[in-house]
């Protein structure tokens, strides 16, 4: 019983010592749900969203696609050519944009800044133009000298057109 009492004392001391740490890691869920996330999405030519309250954004990161909701861990991500999906509050359908690249920065206060050189609506993408541009880029890539600027330009064209193709349902 002495042993048992000693163990109980130890556990109490450990729990009490750990309590401040535990309190810090416990997130206040009702506050998180109420604040939501804010989206700033801009291009050089126009600002698409400034201070918009949205429920989720799915970002085509260069290291992989990821979703951002309120209280997401801060992230700085380079974007690849791909589809950016914005889920507005109270809606099941995502608003989609095809972005050429850029950066997405999620701050600790649940503000996400997305800055892209160009973003277009998926409906505006011309499948025929994308397929022919992909084929042209593929030939240019094969014809260019390995490691040259021409080959790099052809590779950019190939990757972007392939991503645009998959956004409209083509598999290039």
């Amino acid at each position: 019983t002495d042993q048992k009492f000693f163990t109980m004392m130890q556990n109490t001391i450990l729990r009490r010592a750990a309590a401040p740490l535990l309190r810090r890691t416990f997130s206040s869920a009702p506050e998180a749900a109420a604040s939501g996330m804010t989206l700033n999405f801009s291009l050089p030519s126009e600002t698409i969203y400034a201070g918009a309250k949205v429920s989720q954004v799915i970002v085509p990161g260069a290291a992989g696609e990821y979703g951002v909701t309120a209280d997401h861990v801060p992230v700085v991500a380079q974007l690849q050519a791909g589809v950016l999906q914005i889920m507005h509050e109270g809606s099941n359908e995502a608003e989609k944009y095809f972005v050429a690249g850029g950066f997405s920065i999620t701050h600790p206060n649940s503000v996400t800044d997305i800055s892209c050189p160009e973003a277009v609506k998926i409906d505006d993408i011309d499948s025929a133009a994308v397929s022919s541009a992909f084929e042209a880029a593929k030939s240019a890539f094969a014809a260019a000298e390995a490691g040259s600027a021409d080959q790099a330009l052809a590779q950019i064209d190939m990757e972007v057109n392939k991503a645009m193709g998959s956004a409209v349902g083509l598999s290039l």
């Binding site: 690249g101 277009v120 011309d126």
Partner: protein
């Protein structure tokens, strides 16, 4: 970051050159009314003027820096 790892760095391009090329590729893949509007985003021109004795001369629009006598 001394060893280039991306294909565009290895080929001597900067990130800005890479991403503007990607943006051009996106604009060229659009359907017509959107395409003309988007291609306007990438047009640019320069005005060149010479300074003489502290005064700026007349501005002339040039579409390439080499036409203004600036070697790029």
């Amino acid at each position: 970051m001394s060893t280039p790892t991306t294909f565009w760095r290895i080929a001597g391009m900067s990130y800005t050159q890479y991403v503007t090329r990607a943006a051009t590729a996106v604009r060229n893949g659009l359907k017509e009314p959107a395409k003309t509007k988007a291609l306007q985003h990438e047009t640019f021109s320069y005005n060149a003027a010479s300074w003489e004795a502290g005064k700026i001369g007349p501005k002339k629009q040039v579409n390439k820096l080499t036409n203004a006598g600036i070697s790029v």
